[in-house]
């Protein structure tokens, strides 16, 4: 690997100084500082919720920091928005491309700054030629500038996004989990692309949790935890294990209810569950009264497995046995009838019905129970809603309040209440405490303990290590669509989980 810039004696071309950002109930970033150097790759490492995506959004002008300064070169700047950041040479390439599938490659590269002719119209010929030139320089000349973006593979779409950055001679390129959907060969090509960008003097912020990648191409690293910078330095001066230690740390102030796990019979047995391109050979079992944690890095396929269990997708192969009876959930309706419920990660779009009041949200799956021959009985509905909302200690002024007006934590309680009201046997929680305040987090955890004490079984998909270690009886770790291992939670170390999830040897 050639480097044109001596690593130590470089001056940053972009710096964040003391940046903080909060959202209602959540401190996403606290006093964070970060420097990016031209011609070098800085790896941004941290768990989910550590603040990485907020940081990127601040860098690219989508969010404004509450405190702190962004400096381009030595000059503090105030980014007015995405367009402004782009014009200053800050570009980002995300996993999901924010480009236009139905426009051509050339158009996407030059959208917003297309070459014009004398009449002020787009000079289409010049657009194509320049696009081809940019692609050729990047060694991506095999991409047809006229091809529609949606016909390209994800790898090539990334290349187009990079070409867009090149077309404005961007100084800073943020790569957000770029290898998530790439094949081994395409990853190799991406590495070459990154080398090319380094040679061109771009500063690269590389967000990833794959340690082999980080150690292969990064020059520097910055580790985030819970919204704060906990360590940074040169890659050559550190080891994978040290970074893992920084990532994990010791969480302060998280109290997990002590409980005795009284395990009963098998509530759920899953064997050989597979779905093309998403997961394969998923086998595990679950006992009554047990909390099974599902840990893994983003994109490991955990939610996909849960959605298949819930009947949202039809697996290609595999068997699911609930309470000893084989079930085939072809829709959520079936799953709920069998006693398996799902609290989704995307609360706003999949968990609550904004626009309807609290009690209607809570009774939605239980209408058959509260109504009589199809006729609504409001008193029964209110009873049901009140009972479960009280159990979850919901903070609201009235059950007829619109659910959308509640905080994230309270909304989560509603979703859980909704499912509890169906008297389920198994409850799957997907990132149950993501983005909610400490108080509600504790409530949810305590609640989970109560549930299993009553004999329910819980599957908890979580990316927060303290939560996984504090609540689970066992932890299944997934990576790239498969279960790597299922650990007993006895003296289980966080590092073990992270290594398994990232695929690092001991």
């Amino acid at each position: 690997m050639q480097q044109h810039f001596p690593i130590d004696a470089a001056t940053p071309c972009l710096a964040l100084v003391g940046v903080s950002k909060s959202f209602p109930g959540v401190r996403a970033l606290q006093g964070v500082s970060l420097q990016l150097y031209p011609g070098q790759v800085t790896a941004l490492i941290g768990e989910n919720g550590a603040g990485k995506s907020t940081l990127v959004k601040i860098l690219t002008g989508i969010y404004q920091p509450d405190e702190g300064v962004i400096q381009v070169g030595e000059v503090p700047v105030h980014l007015q928005g995405a367009q402004d950041a782009f014009r200053r040479g800050i570009t980002a390439i995300h996993q999901e491309t924010v480009l236009f599938d139905d426009l051509s490659v050339a158009e996407n590269i030059y959208l917003g700054h297309a070459p014009r002719n004398r009449l002020g119209l787009v000079d289409w010929r010049a657009l194509r030629l320049q696009a081809q030139k940019v692609l050729a320089r990047m060694n991506a000349g095999h991409i047809d500038a006229d091809a529609r973006l949606k016909d390209l593979s994800i790898a090539n779409k990334h290349l187009v996004a990079v070409a867009r950055a090149m077309s404005i001679d961007a100084k800073i390129v943020v790569l957000d989990e770029p290898t998530a959907a790439l094949s081994a060969k395409e990853i190799g090509e991406l590495y070459q692309l990154i080398e090319f960008l380094k040679k061109e003097g771009k500063a690269i912020l590389f967000i990833s949790h794959k340690f082999d990648e980080i150690f292969r191409i990064a020059d520097r690293y910055s580790v985030f935890r819970d919204g704060a910078l906990v360590g940074q330095g040169l890659i050559k001066d550190t080891t994978q294990n040290e970074i893992v230690k920084l990532m994990v740390g010791r969480a302060v102030g998280q109290v997990f209810p002590k409980r005795q796990a009284k395990l009963g019979d098998f509530a759920l047995k899953v064997s050989g569950l597979s779905y093309a391109r998403e997961f394969a050979d998923i086998s595990f079992d679950l006992r009554k009264g047990e909390i099974l944690g599902f840990y893994g890095l983003v994109g490991a396929g955990r939610s996909e497995v849960m959605q298949a269990l819930f009947g949202l997708t039809r697996p290609d192969a595999g068997q699911i046995e609930l309470d000893g009876v084989a079930i085939e959930a072809r829709s959520p309706e079936d799953a709920v009838a069998a006693g398996l419920v799902y609290v989704p990660e995307d609360r706003g779009n999949q968990g609550i019905v904004a626009g309807l009041p609290i009690f209607m949200n809570v009774t939605l799956p239980s209408l058959a129970r509260t109504s009589k021959s199809g006729v609504l009985r409001l008193r029964e509905e209110f009873e049901l809603a009140r009972r479960y909302c009280e159990r979850l200690d919901l903070r609201a002024s009235s059950l007829s309040q619109d659910v959308a007006t509640l905080s994230g934590g309270n909304q989560q309680k509603i979703v859980i209440a909704k499912w509890l009201a169906t008297s389920p046997k198994i409850i799957i929680l997907d990132e149950p405490t993501k983005g909610i305040d400490i108080g509600s987090k504790a409530a949810v955890h305590e609640f989970m303990s109560e549930l299993v004490a009553e004999g329910l079984s819980v599957i908890m998909v979580s990316s927060e290590l303290p939560e996984v270690l504090g609540m689970s009886d066992r932890v299944a770790v997934m990576r790239s669509g498969r279960i790597v291992e299922i650990f007993e939670n006895k003296n289980l170390a966080a590092e073990t989980l992270v290594r398994a999830a990232a695929g690092i040897g001991a």
Partner: protein, 331 residues
């Protein structure tokens, strides 16, 4: 602190509901205003039989609007209702040529109407196609079939007792059409606002994904709504055909847009998720009042539609404008 300490309603109160009542009150005020204006403008208006005639104006479209309201609340739309009516009427007329009697004719209309709804429903829920273009297609198809069967002819010769539906009176000045409309309105009101089915319709219209994730059978619900809309089109076609006493393939032209206007005027959000039957009924009354009153003044139908068009736009614009600039007045 638990919720019960603060609030245990046995009836619904709260901002969510009262906001709706405002819309219906507004409609009621408008209805009364137009009623008064009509009686002032024309001496013929305040006559019992005259008022009864008024009802013929909106009952057929109103029946369709009732079902259409539920469909739109669920997030879909059906532009083929009028064409559906035409097809039902054409097939009834066809049967008349063979001497079929009234009960069978009604049966034909109901069956054909519902089948058209089934066809729409299958395409939209089964194949996942957008309802606006599907029903534009079926609109052409259904009316097209009527044209194939009937061409530029007219079917007449309906049996005498068939005329009862569209022309008969049930009690004093209450026409059969009006009575049927009221009964249907009650049924639909109950269905939408008092049953779990109706609750699911609201849920789907507000957030289809969450409804699905909450175990609601979205497909089946929407399919049923399309069938209902088809059924009501069949019923409406019986009434209209009976009132006109004849069938042409151009029957009920423009009814679909008037029915949708009734629905939207009645406070149903075109994007789905909110609305009430009371509002739709009031809107039907309003449209009937306007058209009838203007008719008494010999205003041509075309000009009447200007009023309806403006009414539609203004009533939709009002809440939006109020929300945006209302604070100016408050401060």
């Amino acid at each position: 602190m638990s919720v019960s300490a603060r609030h245990t309603p046995d009836r619904l109160d709260s901002g969510w509901r009262s906001r709706f009542l405002t819309w219906e009150w507004l409609l009621l005020v408008i209805a009364v205003a137009i009623f008064v204006a009509n009686s002032l403008a024309s001496p013929y208006f305040l006559d019992a039989y005259s008022l009864s005639d008024l009802t013929f104006n909106f009952c057929e479209k109103g029946l369709i609007a009732l079902a259409m309201a539920l469909l739109i609340i669920s997030g879909e739309i059906d532009l083929s209702v009028a064409a559906n009516m035409a097809l039902c009427s054409t097939l009834m007329g066809f049967a008349v040529q063979f001497g079929w009697g009234t009960p069978n004719l009604v049966l034909i209309a109901i069956v054909v109407g519902t089948l058209c709804g089934v066809f729409n429903g299958a395409l939209v829920t089964g194949l996942g196609l957008p309802s606006i273009v599907v029903t534009i297609g079926t609109m052409s198809l259904f009316r097209g079939i009527s044209f194939i069967i009937l061409g530029d002819q007219v079917y007449k010769g309906y049996p005498d007792n068939f005329g009862f539906f569209g022309q008969g009176y049930v009690w004093w000045v209450i026409s059969f059409e009006f009575a049927l409309f009221l009964v249907a309105a009650l049924i639909f009101w109950f269905l939408l606002h008092r049953t779990s089915f109706g609750r699911r319709v609201f849920a789907i219209g507000n957030n289809q994904t969450t409804a699905l994730y909450s175990g609601v059978n979205v497909r089946r619900t929407k399919f049923i709504l399309f069938c209902l809309t088809g059924l009501m089109s069949g019923v409406a076609s019986v009434l209209l055909t009976s009132r006109l006493g004849s069938t042409r393939p151009s029957l009920a032209q423009g009814f679909e847009l008037e029915a949708i206007t009734m629905v939207v005027l009645g406070g149903v959000a075109i994007t789905g998720g909110a609305g009430s039957i009371t509002g739709v009924v009031l809107a039907a009354f309003i449209m009937g009042l306007v058209t009838f009153g203007l008719g008494l003044l010999n205003v041509p139908g075309i000009v009447m539609s200007i009023f309806i068009g403006f009414l539609l736009i203004v009533t939709i614009a009002l809440p939006i404008v109020w929300r945006r600039w209302g604070w100016l007045l408050k401060s």
